[in-house]
Subunit: 200 residues, 4 copies
DNA sequence: TATGAATGAGGATTCATTCAT
DNA sequence: TATGAATGAATCCTCATTCAT
């Protein structure tokens, strides 16, 4: 594929992302996408098979972006606690961007509930999330700051808490609660991982 | 309103629920609803102002049902731990029903991300969830089985974990993981609530 | 037909008349009619074959009422001029009622443009109007106050002016112009009928 | 707007005009319009906001056409009588076209009775009609062929007679009466304008 | 005689997709 | 490569009509 085509595709995906963040997955029309991209109505069908293909690639692109950011943040730290904090603080980073991203991701999750293809993309994202979680927990156990019996379960719990907190924050629609939820999330994970009674 | 009308409304809401669980919020047409209800195309508009009104009432009805079940389960128990277990085991109770309910609820959450009216309904649901959480945590603290510094935060965390686990389970689309996630959820909450280091 | 049935039919026609005056011929639903009549939705179809039958009978009833009033007014006077004045002053009598009646009549005329049955009803009305016109003109000629070569044409002209004035007044939507138009109408007819140059 | 778009709009308005003339304002569907235009169902909504917008613009277009023709006819003559005759003979010109135009116009008038926006358009048309009437009458008075006390009233009367005659002719549904009504109209106006008793 | 629940045909509108340019 | 005119399928909603009670 030419780099021009690649550039156009990116432009369209970006426009779609903004449109979905504003109007919601199902409210976005091809006209909306071309409006947001400042392109003509026909381009989207020129560069993508059909509308669904745009959304599918947007989902891939979105979860890749989320994962890339989180992975980078973790890699920048050395201790388990710092990696964990970096992870949570990247997942729950800044109200405006977070709101956009999570709105779009939530739209996709809902859609994935009825679409196996979308679920597959999300599963890959989960794998990545769990991997990051396992890394952090394994390191923490080695550092003796975490006390965890089942590392897989811990990884699942970490992502569940991040998503659970983000959704709850998103629904409450109050930017001032953003750091409140971020800290709740981090404290809860830490508390959960450091409870020595877990080694029963 | 006559009880006949009420019965019909229930019938339509039930049909809508099944249709949304099968096809997804935005894919459901009025024709679908009447098909699922075994009634004619016109009924829905006869009993409801418009399609959105059906969905809105379905959301209210859905979160009410969820809350009613959970509340009942909690009330049936006396100790904090048992109440917590009853809460989690009711929220994450049985694969088939759970899948349906949570698919529908997730569709609504996604839609609520772009609709303030829907958010308001969900906020009421959250209030109820937090109230149950606070009750359980408060009792646990009194019983000296929980060690919690901020009861509000604990209540938020409990619901975040339940929702986070349910979404993750739903996305993995494997009924055999149901009890696995249920236990992860319960254990994580318990671990988080019983960590004495929380009282820093 | 029982008198009860007759009473109900009148009640329904009256309700339809009010509804049409308010909302316009094509905007009126059977529900509107029953609402205006304070009756249940089913009655109209019980007493009338179908919706069109109601409108058809309303048209008959309306033009009969208009004609009856005008005929009575004419009969109450003895001289041609007074009869003419009574005719015009009854056709253009009082803003509020006039507006209602003429709105409804105009709706029917428009519909009659595409419906031969309705046109037939209106033709009967025209016959009555022309008959009144001829009577007045014939008397005026006998009284030597009118100078008319063709009595049929005069009768046609009289009705054309009344309708033309009423429509123009109706469209201008200003009750204060009512007597203005009434006088224009009367003066124009009188002027036309008294021009001796007509006997060429 | 491109001239292509303008052409299409005209095409749609023309199709709508024919459809309304045939079936009547309220019976015309968007499907009818596209059928008459030999275009697909979607075009109308592509070029017009909605169905009402088509009708609104059709009304504007119709009264403009009527006025343009009448104005032109008047301008082509020099004496008051000839201008008057040209005016009447253009307003009541040729059965088939006249029938179509007046059916459509009558449909609009009826609708205008319940719609202020439409009334406004018609008011502008009236202004134009009165202006033409005043011009002719003023000239006739100067020429000493007309004897009129109130020029505004005369202008109102002229239009009332034209509309009154056209409606009556239209309702009688007999093309052979067309010239009969045209002459009645012209004679009546002339007779009214030349009656010296008007200068009372 | 009267009701109003239920039906389903009809129509406005939206929008993904196609395709000539 | 890009445009946007044109299409027509899909869907919400209205409402005349039917009919069981």
């Amino acid at each position: 594929m030419s780099s021009k085509a690649n550039k156009r595709k990116k432009q369209i995906l970006n426009a779609t992302f903004q449109a979905v963040a504003d109007k919601g997955y199902h409210a976005v029309t091809l006209q909306d996408i071309s409006d947001y991209a400042n392109l003509s109505k026909g381009v989207t069908n020129y560069y993508f098979e059909n509308k669904n293909e745009v959304f599918y690639q947007l989902l891939e692109w979105t979860v890749e972006r989320i994962h890339r950011n989180e992975r980078q943040a973790i890699n920048n730290e050395t201790t388990a606690i710092n990696k964990l904090k970096a992870y949570v603080y990247t997942a729950i980073s800044e109200p405006e961007q977070n709101r956009k991203f999570y709105k779009v991701y939530l739209d996709f999750l809902a859609h994935a509930g009825h679409n196996a293809e979308y679920r597959k993309v999300n599963d890959k994202f989960y794998e990545n999330c769990w991997e990051m979680g396992r890394e952090i927990v394994t390191l923490g156990v080695k550092e003796k700051v975490f006390s965890v019996a089942d590392i897989d379960k811990a990884a699942i719990t970490i992502r569940a808490l991040i998503d659970g907190c983000l959704i709850q924050w998103l629904m409450r629609d109050d930017d001032r609660l953003h750091s409140y939820y971020r800290d709740i999330c981090f404290d809860a994970i830490k508390s959960y991982l450091t409870n020595t009674k877990n080694n029963k």
